[in-house]
């Protein structure tokens, strides 16, 4: 009995020692990979920052209204966001490679699945970002146009445009990630269709006068408003 217990403990100790002896080098390799990853990620980050500054991306981003979106989200400049993204994507890649070296059953499969998804995640994030930028630019254009034409619901028009583009961008991002594709498409169709139907009904029933005035103003010959009758130049 005693011998069996001692033998069992010895066996367990040997197994553990064997496992540790097998695992430790892998852990060291993983740490080396991650440390190398940190260095490479930093190098990539600085290189990306330098290239983006040379291409004057921040100025372009200001003109497109993207920087304002970043400021609204309390994020730094476009150059900084992209260079930091390069850093984290590179580091994440190295961490995943490092984890795969550990050879832990089940984890390997999850890691490779995540690696396969990585390009799609990046594309989805890019879609969302572009959606935000476009929504911001177009909604501001609609707001300014509506205010200068004296429409009473300028903010409503502006937010409607923003909302539609957001919904579209979110749907496209989820579709890119293949997340509940059928459900997302059906949900988008329902939300978008309901929104447009709601607008049509609201405009048709609630705003008959507004619709008539709008059509009259759009189709009739353009007449300048009072202030425009004064020759500005």
């Amino acid at each position: 009995m005693k011998d069996t217990i001692v033998q069992g403990l010895q066996q367990a100790y040997q197994n553990m020692a064997h496992m540790i002896a097998e695992f430790l080098p892998r852990l060291v390799v993983m740490l080396v990979i991650v440390l190398t990853g940190v260095l490479v990620a930093y190098a990539f980050k600085y290189a990306a920052r330098m290239i983006l500054r040379l291409t004057k991306l921040d100025r372009l981003s200001e003109e497109a209204g993207a920087s304002k979106v970043l400021r609204m989200a309390a994020l730094p400049s476009m150059t900084e966001v992209l260079s930091r993204s390069v850093f984290w994507i590179t580091l994440l890649g190295f961490i995943l490679i490092g984890i795969s070296v550990l050879n832990i059953a089940g984890l390997q499969e999850q890691v490779s699945r995540l690696l396969r998804l990585l390009p799609e995640i990046v594309v989805a994030m890019l879609i969302l970002f572009l959606g935000l930028v476009i929504a911001n630019f177009l909604s501001r254009a609609v707001l300014l146009g509506s205010v200068n034409r004296g429409y009473g619901s300028a903010l409503l028009f502006s937010w409607s445009v923003r909302f539609i583009i957001w919904i579209l961008a979110i749907t496209m991002a989820l579709d890119e990630l293949s997340v509940a594709r059928q459900t997302v498409l059906a949900a988008f169709s329902i939300v978008f269709g309901a929104f447009m139907l709601g607008l049509a009904i609201a405009f048709g029933y609630g705003g008959q006068d507004l619709a008539r005035k709008f059509l009259e103003r759009s189709l009739a010959e353009k007449k300048p408003d009072d202030s425009d009758e004064l020759q500005p130049l």
Binding site: R59, E62, E63, A64, G65, K68, F137, R140, A141, L143, L144, G145, V147, N148, G150, A154, L155, K222, P224, D225, D226, S227, D228, E229, L230, Q231, P232, L233
Partner: protein, 419 residues
């Protein structure tokens, strides 16, 4: 060599048959068959009366008219004018036509004019508008003579106006361009202007940005100022209203956009410059005639108030905090107590110019956001000046100009600020 790419083979052929010319008058047209004959006649009369011995040409640059404009230019027979008094030109008056596209573009038209003037080695050139129905032979001579005989590079027109005509020019374009560039040119945004062959060559070799294409005359004036060339003004006559022109938003985009762009492109010239200098004026100075006040512009006030409220986030990204706060404060006032102080108006414009320079949001959006504020200033101005005499109004304009000059350090401070 600008003409290599700008001038078509057909136009080059026509210009080569002209050879060299001393004077050139250009007419940018687009569906102007109703008035082009009258314009050509006035130019030819001017040549006959004032430049008998000189080599002269008329250049019509057309934006793709669907009517008979170009045919009229080429085939119009000169009628005997009572003004000629027996004098006939000793040289042929050449007429040249060119088409640059399908749709009017002042910038594209001017590029052709500049390249043609450069190729013909003209000494002076004038651009006149076929929409100006009161064009007189004397107008053409007054635009050409200072550049031809007195070495002036740019000749701006001076018009006689009624009191409430040209208020954007009076309250924004003239005082701001005067304060920024330091030269007192009254009408930098006009349909008629003159320039020397040297300035034509200088501008022909430069890239014309999209922002100045709608009103390239002001860009030429700023080019002349910044290249150290002499500018002058010539009195022409009464300014006529052009029916069917762009609305106030589009006018602001074209003119104020042009001014802000020039501020940005020529910043090295004006950032260290202080004070202003007058330019030589030929003929009488700016004339203002009395006119009944227009009806109260309540709609302008409403558009201003609504604009300040609705565009809060947009204005926040353009204006300095204090300016924005003051603007919101005056927007809450009752219509009868409303006043847009000139000090605040100047600050608003300088903040807008600095925001345009830094492109805090899309530049076109910055210009559009100015429209409601201009309407507020217009309402305040009309309320103040409804009963004033032309002299009082001129004095008011002068004090606004001085306010712009006084606050120029503020513009420079905002211009150089990092954010």
């Amino acid at each position: 060599m600008a003409e290599d790419t700008t001038l078509s083979d057909d136009l080059l052929r026509q210009l080569m048959s002209v050879g060299e010319a001393d004077l050139l008058v250009a007419i940018p047209t687009y569906n102007n068959e109703g008035t082009i004959g009258q314009t050509i006649q006035a130019i030819e009369d001017s040549y006959q009366q004032n430049f008998v011995r000189d080599r002269v040409a008329i250049l019509n640059v057309d934006g793709g008219s669907a009517d008979q404009t170009q045919e009229i230019v080429l085939n119009l027979n000169g009628k005997k004018s009572s003004l000629r008094r027996g004098i006939t030109s000793l040289r042929t008056v050449h007429r040249v036509t060119a088409q640059y596209g399908r749709g009017p573009s002042q910038g594209s038209a001017l590029k052709i004019v500049l390249a043609a003037a450069d190729l013909l080695r003209v000494k002076a050139c004038a651009v006149v508008s076929p929409a100006t129905t009161v064009l007189d032979p004397a107008w053409v001579a007054n635009l050409l003579r200072p550049a031809y005989k007195q070495d002036f590079a740019f000749v701006a027109p001076l018009y006689s106006r009624t009191k409430f005509q040209g208020l954007l020019a009076r309250n924004l374009l003239y005082p701001m361009s005067r304060a920024v560039f330091g030269v007192r040119i009254r009408e930098m945004y006009a349909d008629e202007w003159g320039f020397s062959g040297r300035l034509a060559s200088e501008c022909a070799s430069e890239q014309m940005d999209e922002a100045v294409r709608a009103r390239p005359e002001a860009w030429m004036a700023v080019n002349a100022i910044c290249n150290g060339m002499k500018c002058s003004q010539s009195y022409l006559g009464p300014r006529t209203a052009t029916p069917g022109g762009p609305d106030i938003v589009e006018t602001i985009r074209q003119t104020v956009g042009n001014l802000f762009y020039c501020c940005d492109a020529f910043q090295d010239h004006w950032l260290d410059r202080t004070g202003t200098e007058s330019v030589q004026t030929f003929g009488s100075d700016h004339e203002l005639t009395a006119e009944d006040a227009p009806s109260r512009q309540d709609k302008s006030f409403e558009l201003f108030r609504n604009g300040v409220q609705t565009l809060d986030s947009v204005l926040k990204s353009i204006l300095a905090k204090e300016t924005h706060a003051k603007l919101k404060e005056i927007a809450t006032k009752d219509i009868d107590q409303f006043d847009f102080p000139s000090e605040l108006w100047v600050r608003v414009l300088y903040d807008f110019a600095a925001a345009y320079h830094r492109t805090t949001i899309a530049r076109d959006h910055i210009l559009q956001a100015l429209a409601p504020l201009y309407r507020g200033q217009l309402f305040s101005f009309l309320s103040d000046q409804a009963q004033s005499t032309p002299e009082e109004m001129e004095a008011d304009t002068e004090s606004l100009c001085l306010e712009f000059e006084r606050q120029k350090p503020y513009l420079i401070e905002r211009w150089k600020a990092k954010s």
